[in-house]
Amino acid sequence: MGLNVNLCGIELDNPVIPASGTFGYGYEFAEIYDINVLGTFSFKGTTKDARFGNPTPRIAECAEGMINAVGLQNPGVDKVISEELPKLSKCFNKKVMANVSGFSVEDYAYTCARLDKEEQVGWLEVNVSCPNVHGGGMSFGTDPSAAAEVTRAVKAVTTKPVIIKLSPNVTDIVSIAKACEEAGADGISLINTLLGMRIDLKKRAPVIANKMGGFSGRAIFPVAVRMVYQVANAVDIPVIGMGGVSSAEDVIEMMMAGACAVEVGAANLINPTACRDIIADLPRVMKKYGIENLSDIIRCV
């Protein structure tokens, strides 16, 4: 059986990738399993400067999901390179995906250029879709020309595959994906979280200090499958599918919808061995559905 897939020219042992923001820099998870079983993972979103993020509470629970408004907390690109990547390399020996966010086109280009030079970085995943940061993140991902501008600026200063991570909080995700492809993107990943909100009935106030946040978890899976299907049918570059994936069946469904690799997010937070368990279960599910090689089913629907 073949679990291997190709992601923008780099071979992955399997298509399962922990999503940025749900896996830190890997070492919390390396405490309980060998994370080298993963295809790769996308590390915590990195910005030019250090960020604390939003005030707490940052988390709210929903039926079959959760809302987070962390707000891109990270130590900044300098410390990610000097402190986090050396630690990461001790528990993970494959190429890793660097997730980058910014507040201006220049920010994105600067941070990507820095991470592009790191040997272990295999791909740059450019987040133009964070719903939790005002004046940045998502504003670049809700307008095709702004998304294209970020893509062009990053491509101009990097050598590694650039994957643009899109927001579902838009009217027409296909037009944004196409604009990124035309601007030179090597791949598209989607979906980031859906903008959501919960209210505390006793306090008559939002549960989350930031009022709104990104909704993720099993509940959003059908929305993600639909958008992956739409985008994969509209572009000729690889698509990474994500959003509510929590089982081997979900991975296969995403791939049938058009994904060549699949990110797993919130599931890691409730079951730290989620990705390992999904990978271990893939052969069983492949056999059940008569799949010899996972790469054969990409975009088969």
Partner: protein
């Protein structure tokens, strides 16, 4: 951190809304001031609950029913199984306690004081404990602390039992080498202001994962950003920054 399945041995009400659950399973990583994170059927996020006691494959947790998850826990029966992450949180540093540590627990901040008192006493310390509650009906575990050999003072805000007032009223005039405390934030602030010398404070925050991955429970401290779940929940007095 370890993920394993525990079996409920007993689950009893201590007060109208506070329950004690005893479980069997591998609790070798449980320590004073640490917590466990419990998966509940039909709930997306796990429920983080402090360790009250852990010995010989027996885990004791005491929890207050505050929402749907804890309400669901309160209805669980002996024999039922729970998927639990153990070994979470930094826990208290017992080596700082000295010869006469003072332990201050308020409400559901009382349970973690139990295993701490037990281990400090086993280590030869003379332990004083202040347990703070709103009213007599809410009191639990007073006798259990006495049975450990601790010097126990109970306070109630309404004066219906023990010393009338707050835990800080009972702490006035006491002599101690170090303070360990856990309770609601207003109590922690009051303790912080009133105690002499060094102390360790256990904080609560709404968590996503409970093991340091999601950055859902971060706080600012004198020594930088910390995750309550992984770098805490216990902070040293000198590193606390109040908002």
């Amino acid at each position: 951190m370890t993920q394993s399945v525990f079996t409920i041995k007993s689950n009893i009400a201590l007060t109208e809304s506070v329950y004690k659950m005893t479980l069997s399973g591998d609790c070798s990583e449980c320590r004073p001031g640490g917590f466990v994170n419990i998966q509940l059927t039909g709930r997306f996020l796990r429920r983080p609950i402090s360790v009250c006691d852990a010995y010989e494959n027996t885990l004791v947790i005491i929890y207050k029913v505050v929402g749907k998850g804890t309400e669901q826990m309160s209805r669980m029966q002996p024999g039922e199984a729970l998927d639990i992450l153990t070994g979470l949180g930094n826990g208290y540093d017992l080596s700082k306690g000295g010869s006469h540590p003072l332990l201050i627990g308020g409400g559901v901040g009382v349970p973690p004081m139990y295993m701490l008192a037990k281990e400090l006493i086993a280590g030869g310390a003379e332990v004083s404990v202040i347990l703070g509650f709103n009213t007599k009906e809410e009191i639990f575990y007073e006798n259990e602390f006495r049975a450990l050999g601790a010097d126990v003072t109970v306070t109630t805000v309404d004066g219906s039992y023990g010393v009338q007032g707050f835990v800080t009223d009972a702490a006035k005039g006491m002599e101690y080498t170090h303070v360990f405390t856990c309770g609601p934030e207003p109590m922690l602030r009051a303790v912080y202001k009133s105690i002499k010398g060094d102390g360790q404070f256990s904080f609560e925050e709404r968590m996503g994962c409970g093991f340091g991955a999601c950055m859902g429970c971060s706080c600012k401290t004198v020594t930088g950003y910390k995750r309550i779940c992984k770098d805490g929940p216990v902070l040293r007095k000198e590193e606390i920054l109040w908002d």
